[in-house]
Symmetry: none
Subunit: 214 residues, 4 copies
Amino acid sequence: MARPQTDIEAGRAELLTVVDDLVRKRGAVDISMTDLAAAAGMSPSNLYRFFENKEALLEAVAERFFEDKSKIMVEVTESDLPVRNKMYEFFARRFLVMVQKYEAEPDLLKSYLEIGQQHFEVVRGYVDLGDHYLSLIVAEAMEQGYFQGLSIDETVSLINQMIHCYTNPESIIYIGTGKLRVEKLAHIVDAMFNGLGVQASAELTKESHIKIVS
Amino acid sequence: MARPQTDIEAGRAELLTVVDDLVRKRGAVDISMTDLAAAAGMSPSNLYRFFENKEALLEAVAERFFEDKSKIMVEVTESDLPVRNKMYEFFARRFLVMVQKYEAEPDLLKSYLEIGQQHFEVVRGYVDLGDHYLSLIVAEAMEQGYFQGLSIDETVSLINQMIHCYTNPESIIYIGTGKLRVEKLAHIVDAMFNGLGVQASAELTKESHIKIVS
Amino acid sequence: MARPQTDIEAGRAELLTVVDDLVRKRGAVDISMTDLAAAAGMSPSNLYRFFENKEALLEAVAERFFEDKSKIMVEVTESDLPVRNKMYEFFARRFLVMVQKYEAEPDLLKSYLEIGQQHFEVVRGYVDLGDHYLSLIVAEAMEQGYFQGLSIDETVSLINQMIHCYTNPESIIYIGTGKLRVEKLAHIVDAMFNGLGVQASAELTKESHIKIVS
Amino acid sequence: MARPQTDIEAGRAELLTVVDDLVRKRGAVDISMTDLAAAAGMSPSNLYRFFENKEALLEAVAERFFEDKSKIMVEVTESDLPVRNKMYEFFARRFLVMVQKYEAEPDLLKSYLEIGQQHFEVVRGYVDLGDHYLSLIVAEAMEQGYFQGLSIDETVSLINQMIHCYTNPESIIYIGTGKLRVEKLAHIVDAMFNGLGVQASAELTKESHIKIVS
DNA sequence: TATGAATGAGCCTTCATTCAT
DNA sequence: AATGAATGAAGGCTCATTCAT
């Protein structure tokens, strides 16, 4: 009788943990399969039972990075909070998770960002998923009379731009967690609901004080 | 040994140009010292007269990336445009330079971003410089009665957040040049001058509809 | 433990079929034991019940390659065709089998050749077997008056040389199936029976126009 | 002042000698770049200054194998021997070179054959070159009245087939140097000049005793 | 000053084989 | 009898860097 078949999925997960440790210690650039194997207590060749490639491994790492954030999006969207709060939580919760990660291990976050940059399809997938859930929330808000005169897509795009720096991990590093605060985020969400719609945008367009450069 | 300092400086500059070509052709990851030497028409060993390290070289590359943007900041700040326009130009010009670069060679920009990410001190320096000049403009605006009730630092921070996605190269890639437009930037700048100050912020804070999560 | 011998034998045969498929798909060089196991639907380790080695496996493959050709030799030799036709068929049939294989899958044949080259004992065995059967046919021909004045061995050797390019798989590749035709082979066999014997060879030797180098 | 630039070509040549030694000792299959480097007294990486690839290296090896034979072809073709002798020498000299190599180191020849098989373009190039020179000789012979009624290409093809086993290194191994002798080759060349042409082939076609299988 | 040669350590990956089960 | 896990050794190759000249 054969040995029980190892749960490849479990092995993968464990390896990702090891990768996490390694990235923490040595940064993203320098993880070699050999090192990973050593850290995981197995032979380099055995790694290839779990991941076809270094590429595939790194992709999995990138995916794992977004896992908890994706879960938050689902949870919040499916909750029965009032829309405005839903919107706030939609951004705030993920932001806070990121802040927490950043403050605990700034370099680790930077390293993951680097990995993400090299596996942009994964990032893009996450961004698209975010747009999907955001548009659900926007639709809900529209039913309640918000964002009049705007299409769902327009609204999603505007919202994304307004809170971009609470969404993009990179921003945390650029701007710093000292300056990015949920309180400000709350203001922005308020401004969103109060100001995004027909009347407001009409007024602004009317009297632009600025000549636009080519 | 006439002017060694200068010679070295000139060599460095020339090398950076060559690096630019190489990054354009092969991406950030794959520049090897050997290839660079070949492309520069010199021996690998001679490279080390100009840069102590590959590390040092890359740092210089990152610095060069911000050169033109830094120049724009100085120019605009020192110009005698009205403050509001000054503010707009302060962001718009750099944004447009970046858009142009991105649209001409998206991968090249991504490559530079990658390099930047690995040399964050350089990025941080540029960000700080930006804050410095921005605070000059803000001070000028305050003299004309804008941003009342806010400190310079607070204002700088809020402004930075509001236009963050026109400032951060990463955003261009995330959001796309289709959605990020100078017209929108103009609106945001307008909103800044019209809305950032005592009255406005007072109202918002008064009736925040949102309970803040931990 | 009913009939271990037979079971093993059957497994071996089946494995060789699988190898054939694999060689067809991936060439001779790239068959790995792991792949073979996968293709055969068994574990790599189980392979070693059937073949001690990769070496042993490949040897068996080489042997199998000659199987049908060996069978043809027996059949033709034991048939009651007239000798001349027997001789022709002796070569033509095997040649045609090979041509057919080559034209259907040129690379497959090349791959087998490669394997053969690495297991020359097997090839040598086949060649010796060919000589054996050929000498039977030659003996039969001699009883009918052909090849007078030549020994069986001499005749066998000369015949082998004359039709060598219809015998050697390699030749098909070098010369091409466009130029190697059974019609030509027929001529050569005719020339053999008509010209190989006392008178002819006497004449030739008499007036060799050529001085022989060292 | 820089070191004098090493003659890459010389290095290549020397490396090929080392490869020769290695092939002699270990066979063709198992030459690794690492081994070669060790045998050549240099680091593996340095090998790549001389050959871009293992592939390129092996190609050069294959080319070198044919070098002396190519030279013989030129020499003989350009000599002012009588055509018949020229033809004989054209094949005999190369055959003798090969025999000599084979008898000195049978396994070495086999190994080279293996390499040749894996770099068929090189072999094909040599074969084509052979055809070229042979056609020059054939043309010369035709001017003297030989091979009447046949085109140059037809003649070349027929000749190639007739002496194929003195031409193809593989044959030496299959047939053995005991049975392949220059005396026989001389007979064949004689038969070529005496028998290849209108009259002869007319007779043969007239009375083929053999029914041709599909 | 500047060179080309040369290296050594490391990279990712493959694979025949063994072994506990 | 048969398995899947696991390995160790090796494969080709790259590259930052050093060093004698």
